[in-house]
């Protein structure tokens, strides 16, 4: 893990390389995180790759409801020679959830970006195959958003059969 000083140095290098890309840094419980502007994510990850973080371990989606901007994407990077990890975060609003795709540079992000799109509705521009991956293709909504209803469908028991949905008629 880069310590707090190392994280600030890393963030300074990234900010010098792509001006305006670094919005914030956070060092929490021994883990460093860099928050970047969504438009600069591709350049940031490529710069981190040159700095030694050669493996993109995972891509996550987050819903920060009720904070704005609501949706977040986390990229976990690993330096396999120094055993270093760093998290790159970005946040986009639900109104325009567009993020440049990193799939052309990191092929492992292909399915993970599709899953983030499926569950949170973040659209990755430039992704070669931006479809749902888990839910049916005609499914409406993004079920991992925090304002998505948990269940909603009443269970058919004998006692409420008459009031339940009469779908079989």
């Amino acid at each position: 893990m880069p310590d707090a000083t190392g994280l600030e140095l890393l963030a300074r290098d990234l900010g010098e390389r792509t001006p305006g890309s670094i919005l914030d840094t956070e060092h929490f419980r021994g883990k460093g995180a860099v928050e970047v502007a969504p438009a600069t994510i591709v350049e940031t990850l490529l710069a981190l790759r040159e700095a030694g973080f050669t493996a993109l371990m995972s891509v996550h989606g987050v819903d920060y409801y009720p904070d704005e901007p609501r949706l977040g994407v986390h990229y976990e990077l690993l330096d396999m020679s120094k055993l270093d990890r760093v998290t790159v975060r970005l946040r986009v609003p639900t109104g325009a959830p567009h993020v440049p795709s990193v799939t052309p540079d990191w092929p492992t992000a292909n399915h993970q970006e599709r899953e983030v799109y499926d569950m949170f509705g973040v659209v990755f521009d430039g992704h070669p195959d931006m479809r749902r991956i888990l839910m049916p293709e005609d499914y409406e909504g993004h079920p991992q958003r925090r304002d998505f209803p948990i269940g909603g469908e009443p269970i058919l028991f004998t006692h409420n059969e008459a009031t339940g949905p009469r779908w079989f008629e």
């Binding site: 888990l134 839910m135 049916p136 499914y139 079920p143 998505f148 209803p149 948990i150 269940g151 469908e153 269970i155 058919l156 028991f157 779908w167 079989f168 008629e169």
Partner: protein
């Protein structure tokens, strides 16, 4: 031809049938020997009852595991519980040869059309057991991805539990056997559209059409 079920009202009625059977055996045995043989060996019944009795004792389950409940389902064919004792031992790998579908686990909304299609391909008479909390009422997975079995297919027996112990599934199968042997009509199943065997025939059009080989009526291909 309509099969009319004859009721045996009184012991005298039953006795009359025994006497008729005794007449048929006359010649091979005589006297007291014949009387004893008939009373011990011959039992008269209706064809319906005999067929239901045989049917209930030879249900072949479908080899179809969905989730963790499938582990419990597998164990009932093992040596400890051994449903071969009741004639259920042959798990068939094809819906054409199976009589009983055990929904062993949670059914996701993507899996539901597949389950319904496999169920539609089974030949009559066919039965279904919803095993475990998930397939009956979504259980701990009560969320956006899971659908209870009652919503898309007729279920004869629900076995509660998470997962049910093999003994519980055994009890469910025995209950189903009793139902098959005593009340085979299952008229309630019609309202689910679950009667008959449906084969999905690929056509040139956009939608495949299904043909119900039981009623002969063509239906829209059931993707739900």
């Amino acid at each position: 031809m309509e099969v009319v079920r004859q009721k045996i009202e009184t012991p005298e009625d039953f006795r009359a049938r025994q006497l008729r059977a005794r007449d048929m055996l006359r010649g091979d045995l005589e006297g007291q020997d014949l009387e004893q043989y008939v009373q011990e060996r011959v039992l008269t019944t209706t064809l319906d009852k005999a067929v239901d009795w045989a049917r209930g004792n030879s249900l072949f389950p479908l080899t179809f595991g969905l989730a963790c409940c499938a582990i419990e389902m597998m164990s009932i064919v093992g040596a400890r519980l051994d449903i071969a004792r009741f004639g259920f031992e042959a798990f068939r790998a094809s819906p054409r040869q199976a009589d009983l579908m055990i929904l062993s686990g949670r059914v996701s909304i993507k899996m539901a059309p597949v389950v319904r299609r496999v169920y539609d391909q089974m030949l009559e008479p066919k039965f279904a057991i919803a095993m475990g909390a998930c397939s009956s009422s979504m259980g701990v997975f009560n969320n956006y991805a899971i659908v209870p079995a009652d919503k898309f297919m007729p279920v004869d027996v629900h076995v509660p539990g998470c997962p049910p112990r093999p003994e519980a599934l055994m009890h469910g199968i025995i209950k189903l056997r009793a139902m098959v042997q005593e009340d085979p009509s299952m008229g309630w199943r019609r309202r689910y559209g679950g009667v008959g065997t449906e084969e999905v025939v690929p056509t040139a059009g956009e939608h495949a059409t299904g043909e119900n080989v039981f009623t002969g009526a063509g239906t829209e291909a059931s993707d739900a």
